[in-house]
């Protein structure tokens, strides 16, 4: 059984098949990219994986166990974290608070303990903070600890979202268009970080991306999608040379 498998999954909104029996599997330690024109169903697949949508049919397997029926808030605990295409940070909180929310799936203290802030809570808080600091160091975010998200530029928010996902110590991270809205330099930084996430932290990366230069630089394998259907899977070069993919992007 491979690390993460999507088995002929479909998602139907009324008469529209947003995702049409898509299957793929991701090996441990791989950087796997999903590409495709707008509306191809890329983000829908992510929402299926993070269980925000219920699939019409098909199954999801993570580390050999079926996660198709797992409620969305338990996905993070299993070790799957994600970012969002248009940034879903908690805007009226500091970066530190945002990253600490990323630790939520590791929270062990009960409500009454939190209310009294018992020594056990303090101990747990320090541990969470220590992990958060590691991520801050990894992504060079030291300057923004006490800053409110609402006052930070887009490029920084994008990195903070990756940081928040990393704080949950995932085994698989889903990056939804990590380079959208970033300039060339920031995209370069992002490509280094994506590779570091894999090589240094050993986290498997599954991402959706439009920027082909970024895709070529970091991906091990690419899956091309159009109208909810898989067009091709393979190395970046193979997929880009595939006639169906060229037809999807340029027209037949």
């Amino acid at each position: 059984m491979s690390f993460f498998t999507v088995d002929s999954i479909s998602l139907q909104f009324g008469g529209l098949k947003a995702v049409d029996s898509v299957s793929f599997s991701v090996a441990k330690g791989e950087i796997f990219t999903i590409i495709g024109p707008n509306g191809a169903g890329k983000t829908s697949i992510f929402n299926l994986i993070s269980r925000l949508y219920n699939p019409t049919s098909g199954k999801l397997f993570f580390e050999g166990s079926d996660i198709t029926e797992v409620p969305p808030h338990q996905i993070a605990k299993l070790g799957i974290a994600r970012t969002f295409q248009n940034i879903e940070l908690f805007e009226n909180a500091t970066m530190l608070a945002n990253l600490l929310v990323g630790r939520h799936c590791h929270a062990t203290t009960q409500l009454w303990q939190d209310m009294l802030f018992l020594p056990s809570v303090r101990r747990a808080e320090k541990e969470h903070r220590h992990k958060v600091e590691e991520v801050i160091e990894f992504l060079d975010l030291q300057a923004y600890r006490e800053k409110l998200i609402a006052g930070l530029p887009y490029g920084v928010r994008k990195v903070i979202e990756v940081a928040r996902a990393l704080c949950s110590e995932p085994k698989l991270i889903l990056l939804d268009e990590p380079s959208s809205g970033l300039n060339v330099e920031e995209t370069d930084d992002m490509s280094f970080w994506i590779r570091d996430i894999r090589t240094e932290l050993g986290i498997t990366v599954l991402m959706v991306e439009h920027d082909m230069s970024l895709v070529n630089r970091v991906s091990d394998r690419v899956l091309a999608l159009n109208y909810g259907k898989v067009l091709a899977t393979g190395t970046p070069a193979e997929v880009q040379a595939h006639p169906d993919v060229i037809a999807a992007y340029l027209g037949a």
Binding site: N47, S50, L52, Y53, P71, P72, H73, Q74, I75, A76, K77, A81, R82, F84, Q85, N86, I87, E88, L89, F90, E91, N92, A93, L96, A97, L100, V101, G102, R103, H104, C105, A107, T109, L111, Q113, D114, M115, L116, F117, V121, R122, A124, E125, K126, H128, R129, H130, A150, Y154, R164, S168
Partner: protein, 383 residues
């Protein structure tokens, strides 16, 4: 400006972050402890009402300010706390039992109200909580064997293990102060722990919260339960302060007053609850004074400008009849809320922070610091 050199994670966890906090809050606490021995009984009584409103404010702050779930049903929670106290006291249950019992019962009811909140958002949740408040009001009026219906219930003097705490005494004042400080500490503890962060996450983005592992249903119910339980405590104190409770004391207008507490105070921090409570308790005597004085003043100004004395008397009568018209208070409250939302969205506490920053940065303060920016980029909310 104060720059703090941080060498320890505890510095960020602590509630009193640096020496300035110890000084300012220490002086405030000392002043509050000394207050009953310095001022007259009227002012002391008003301050007790400020405490009670502030306790409800803290409760509502947890629910509305932190979790983002609006409620116009908090008068009902207050009523449940008050009636639990009155009924249990009548049965001879001691205060040290019925005080927590009221909180627990109200908390359970709050959790039950929280369940519809899982599916309702925004204005629909507000309507649901109003409906809940009406149901409670109706039950209080009809369940005569327990609540004595519209006749109301007399509440005897508070009694802690044989020691009476009359409603105007210093001891009762300190009990209210202690409850307020306790609920504030509780709220601050929540804020610096995973539970409070989950609340704030739900307020800002439910979708992201869900994918970070926050069980929305559980935390919304928890927020409702905690908020209701604290309001229940306030209800017990309220019952003892009023010495008489009846269903018409816990109407929609009271719920609106509670919402005003946090809107006017500033719905983003615990300070706001206290600021708002001070405002609400002080605005009522102010309006009453205005009602009595303005018509007389207007008439005398008019007559000094040459208006005939019978016309001036007519003006005075017209103005005082407008002043005593039913529903005027509600209208003025509505106006105050609108003005605050439009011109001071961060409330009195926000204004306080702005003034403080002005002096900290003087002369470098720039107006744009607090300018509200519209964010247009919002992801599709996966509802």
């Amino acid at each position: 400006m104060r720059f703090i050199f941080k060498t320890d994670y505890d510095q960020d966890i602590r509630i009193l972050k640096h020496g300035g906090y110890w000084w300012s809050y220490g002086i405030l606490l000392a002043a509050l402890i000394a207050l009953p021995f310095l001022v007259g009984s009227y002012l002391q009584s008003q301050v007790v009402f400020v405490f009670i409103y502030a306790i409800v404010g803290v409760a509502l702050m947890i629910l509305t300010g932190f979790t983002g779930q609006a409620s116009l049903g908090h008068a009902a929670f207050l009523a449940i706390g008050a009636y639990t106290a009155a009924y249990l006291q009548k049965l001879g249950v001691p205060f040290i039992v019925y005080f927590p019992a009221a909180a627990i019962l109200t908390g359970i009811v709050g959790a039950m109200v929280g369940f519809p909140a899982l599916r309702l958002t925004g204005i629909y949740l507000v309507i649901a909580t109003i409906a809940f408040a009406f149901i409670v009001e109706e039950i209080l009026a009809r369940w005569e064997s327990v609540t004595h219906g519209n006749e109301g219930m007399r509440v005897r003097t508070l009694d802690i293990v044989g020691m009476p705490l009359p409603r105007d005494g210093e001891a009762f004042y300190f009990l209210c102060l202690l409850t307020l400080v306790g609920s504030i500490v509780l709220a601050l503890n929540l804020l610096r722990s995973p539970t409070g962060r989950a609340f704030v996450a739900i307020r800002d983005s439910e979708t992201a919260g869900k994918s970070m592992g926050i069980d929305l249903a559980a935390y919304k119910v928890k927020s409702f339960a905690i908020s209701a339980a604290i309001t229940g405590l306030a209800g017990v104190l309220f019952a003892h302060k009023m010495t008489f409770i009846s269903p018409e004391m816990f109407t929609l207008l009271l719920s609106i007053e509670f919402i005003m507490v946090i809107i006017i105070g500033g719905a983003f921090g615990v300070h706001g609850a206290v600021f708002g409570a001070i405002f609400i308790v002080m605005v009522d005597p102010f309006l009453t004074a205005l009602k009595d004085d303005v018509p007389v003043l207007a008439a005398s100004v008019a007559s000094s400008f040459g208006m005939a004395s019978d016309a001036a008397a007519k003006l005075r009568d017209t103005m005082s009849s407008i002043g005593s018209a039913a529903g005027l208070k509600g209208a003025i409250y509505g106006l105050i809320i609108m003005m605050f939302i439009l011109f001071e969205p961060y409330g009195l506490y926000g204004r306080w922070l702005k003034v403080k920053l002005f002096f900290q940065l003087f002369p470098l303060y720039k107006k744009a610091t607090f300018k509200r920016q519209k964010t247009y980029v919002k992801s599709e909310r996966n509802r």
